[in-house]
């Protein structure tokens, strides 16, 4: 059942770096949040090692994987966890990104961590507003309402041209690596580290929430709302809280994106982004936070590979225009046809089979 996979999948992130045969009993002796934080630290170590052996370009792409991971993980908690479909997740990324850009431009003296906390606060407020307004909506109606957000929000950047810079967006220039690390890590590597530090901290929190009481309540609501209400779960409040947690993750991801790219434009946060995020989540595996990781890799790398493929094959411009989309679609269909729980589902089946033999 999907419920069991959901729970199994809530294992802490970064656990892949610990040996698979590690004694479960000893790990269970630690409280779950501590285990999650340890796993996050291990994850950060893996990313740092990866950055040491690769160059600046990979650092930029790894950073992109990082913030996309966080955004999709928030979406996973919402869609896979509480069963609310949001097609407007990109809008929260936009709120986060523009908050970050405006903070850096208007209040350049604030340190990054403060900026990120403010970004989270802004996204939480936006999440409460939207979540409260849509808490009574189900299935396609909720999807429709959030869709409006994804379509409408970029328009605001055009409407308030002076504040948000219209279609050219905002450009910011951010401080790079701290001086004592000069010559040791490059700016891109530093940015990637900051992103992954924040992302893994956020994920440890998400994993804890997902495995705790709130996660249990969310899954109960997802599987049967009436039964959950009969069991004494405050349905409306839990749904709003799930929405707020997801939008905070989305907003923080957007803020990190602005930090890495140094530029925010409304065209980046189009409806296509929101749809891509949810399609990628389905591809990676909607039942698990791990699925969000594979999804993030797919979002960042499938497109790069597809356009490189189109370039080397020297295809016509019509083909080149559509190849990344077609490739994404075909991969999505194939994965879902053979592994309905996405890449993560496939990996789990594989692991189960290996254990049996």
């Amino acid at each position: 059942m999907s419920t069991t996979t959901g729970q199994r999948a809530d294992r802490p992130t970064g656990a892949a770096s610990t040996p698979p045969q590690s004694p479960d009993s000893r790990r269970r002796a630690l409280p779950l949040p501590a285990r999650n934080l340890l796993a996050a630290a291990a994850g950060l170590a893996v990313v740092t090692a990866l950055l040491m052996v690769t160059g600046d370009l990979t650092a930029l792409r790894l950073a992109a994987v990082g913030y996309t991971f966080l955004a999709i993980a928030g979406l996973q908690l919402l869609v896979g966890g509480s069963g609310q479909v949001s097609l407007g997740h990109g809008a929260f990324m936009m709120i986060g990104a523009y908050s970050m850009a405006l903070l850096v431009m208007r209040l350049p003296m604030l340190p990054l961590a403060t900026n990120l906390l403010i970004v989270i606060a802004v996204s939480v407020i936006a999440g409460i507003a939207v979540g409260a307004a849509t808490a009574r909506l189900h299935g396609p109606y909720l999807a429709g309402a959030t869709l409006i957000l994804a379509v409408g929000l970029p328009g605001i950047a055009h409407r308030y041209h002076d504040l948000f810079g219209g279609s050219n967006g905002l450009n910011i220039r951010m401080a790079g690596a701290p001086p004592f690390l000069d010559g040791f890590v490059s700016t891109s590597e530093w940015q990637a580290l900051v992103v992954w530090f924040t992302v893994l901290l956020g994920l440890a929190l998400l994993a804890t929430v997902s495995a705790g009481r709130l996660g249990r309540r969310m899954r109960a609501i997802r599987d049967d709302e009436t039964a959950a209400a009969m069991a004494g779960i405050p349905v409306g409040r839990t749904k709003v809280v799930a929405f707020v947690v997801a939008s905070a993750a989305g907003g923080l991801a957007g803020g990190l994106q602005a930090y890495v790219l140094g530029t925010v434009t409304p065209s980046t946060f189009s409806l296509v982004l929101s749809l891509t995020l949810i399609a990628a989540l389905v591809l990676g595996g909607i039942a698990s936070l791990w699925g969000a990781l594979w999804a993030a890799f797919a979002v960042v790398y499938l497109e790069i590979w597809a356009s490189e493929l189109a370039e080397t094959l020297n295809l016509g411009s019509d083909v080149q225009n559509n190849l990344p989309l077609v490739l994404f679609g075909v991969v999505l269909i194939l994965v879902l046809r053979f592994w309905p729980l996405g890449v993560q589902g496939a990996l789990q089946t594989l692991r189960a089979r290996m254990r049996r033999s």
């Binding site: 409280p31 949040p33 600046d56 050219n168 701290p178």
Partner: protein, 446 residues
């Protein structure tokens, strides 16, 4: 329950960790405070070998912006192939790598880093677009990559304090609009004027120039967003306000759309179009495409375009008397993609000739510093029709425009010779002592 207690402790732990992080981070400097370090080392020559030099560019080769701007990199590539066929520049072949950014700023950042890190480009030449190029200009300057001739007329490129390695190309929107404003004030005095503009820096900077001459005569200011391809309310408003002259600070697709919409409601103003939206060959194609499957299908595109006034600073391919234009047509026939040559191709071709010329004068011992010295140390004589500034703290590129009127049958007539001006309130003047070199006189290949 024990589990709940454990969860509470955990949350407290996380809160403590978060707090510790906040305290640690607040000790650091502000996120937006950038200390200006000394410039990068320019006495280097990445991408340069004995017999080749790698230069890069970001262009929309795919996506919605590609139909309008694909031609720029195609034109540049054709000229570089010609130059290479003549033996290159100072014995080096030019390896021109135009990467696709689909006009998406985040992709621009990715491909630019790819060019700088993996391809080790010597310089960036003609990176296209305001929102796209804005995202990489800091990076290029920090890395010490000469950022030569970005393909956009934003004022931001001409800022030698912040971006000393960026050299503008296009006559900026304000200069162009000032000449347009003066021309309209002189030739259509007393007539009502309406502005139609793109709602970004194009519109903003253009109005700053137009208003210096036309502030009294403006009866309507209508804008469009490049995401919304509908101009019906804008054209209706311009018609209602009674604008006899419409100044269109638009990209080609919206120039075409505006003309079609005006014709549909029976409104026939005098069109004045900026260089960015005034490529008649491109407009003909667009008008044909837009009229397909409508009532006016089969109406010749020239019916809409005739008498349109266009400002320009580069050679125009419609001009049969212009040696450079004819030279470009011939080169594109031989080295191009086989399609019809447009003024958008000519844009890229002029850039490429200009760049090859700079590279030539930088000499055989090529370093980035040598390229910068060459840019700063010369008075350029074409292929553009107006003087070009790339020194003394002014990296503005082309300094002015001339005005042509489209006569139909792919013919244009120059109705006002080149004029130069500044982007502030300075006067508009005829350029002094500017003598354009012919293709065979100019040294831009071996």
């Amino acid at each position: 329950m024990p589990q709940t207690r454990r969860g509470r402790n955990g949350i407290r732990g996380i809160a403590a960790a978060g707090l510790a992080l906040v305290i640690a981070a607040t000790a650091c400097t502000g996120a937006g405070e950038v200390d200006e370090s000394g410039g990068a080392d320019l006495d280097v020559a990445p991408g340069v070998t004995e017999d080749s030099v790698v230069i890069g560019a970001h262009h929309p080769l795919t996506g919605p912006a590609a139909p309008g701007y694909l031609a720029v990199s195609q034109g540049a590539a054709a000229v570089f192939e010609y130059v290479n066929a003549q033996g290159g520049v100072n014995g080096r072949e030019i390896d021109y790598r135009a990467e696709d950014d689909a006009y998406d700023p985040s992709t621009t950042i990715d491909v630019t880093r790819e060019l700088v890190i993996d391809d080790e480009i010597f310089a960036m030449m003609g990176g296209l677009g305001t929102p796209t190029h804005s995202g990489v200009i800091d990076y290029l300057n920090d890395e010490g990559v000469p950022d030569v001739f970005p393909s956009s007329g934003a004022l931001a490129w001409n800022n030698t304090e912040e971006h000393p390695l960026t050299y503008g190309w296009q006559t900026d929107y304000t200069k162009e609009a000032k000449v347009q404003g003066e021309y309209i004030a002189e030739n259509f005095s007393g007539e009502s004027v309406g502005y139609l503009y793109q709602n970004d820096d194009v519109g903003e900077d253009s109005q700053a120039g137009l208003d210096q001459y036309l502030a009294e005569d403006v009866v309507a200011r209508e804008h469009y967003e490049s995401e919304v391809s509908d101009l019906s309310s804008q054209m209706a408003e311009l018609d209602r306000a009674g604008a006899d002259v419409v100044v269109c600070s638009c990209i080609p697709s919206f120039t075409a759309l505006g003309m079609l919409e005006a014709a549909r409601i029976g409104y026939d103003p005098q069109w004045v179009v900026s260089s960015i939206g005034g490529d008649t060959v491109t407009l003909q194609g667009l008008l044909e495409e837009f009229t397909q499957d409508t009532d006016v299908e089969g109406t010749p595109a020239d019916a809409f375009l005739e008498d349109t006034l266009i400002t320009s600073y580069m050679p125009r391919v419609e001009d049969e008397d212009d040696e450079w234009a004819q030279f470009f047509v011939a080169i594109y026939d031989e080295y191009g993609e086989g399609d019809q040559v447009t003024n958008t191709h000519a844009f890229g071709m002029t850039q490429a000739v200009m760049f090859a010329q700079v590279l030539m004068s930088a000499g055989e011992d090529l370093t980035r510093q040598a390229l910068i010295d060459a840019l700063e140390g010369q008075e350029w004589q074409g292929p553009g029709h107006v003087p070009f500034s790339s020194s003394d703290g002014d990296h503005g590129g082309h300094e002015g425009v001339y005005v042509v009127q489209y006569q139909g049958d792919s013919e244009i007539e120059m109705v006002q010779d080149p004029r130069v001006t500044d982007r502030e309130g300075g006067a508009i003047e005829e350029p002094e002592g500017f003598d354009r070199l012919l293709p065979e006189e100019m040294e831009f290949h071996d």
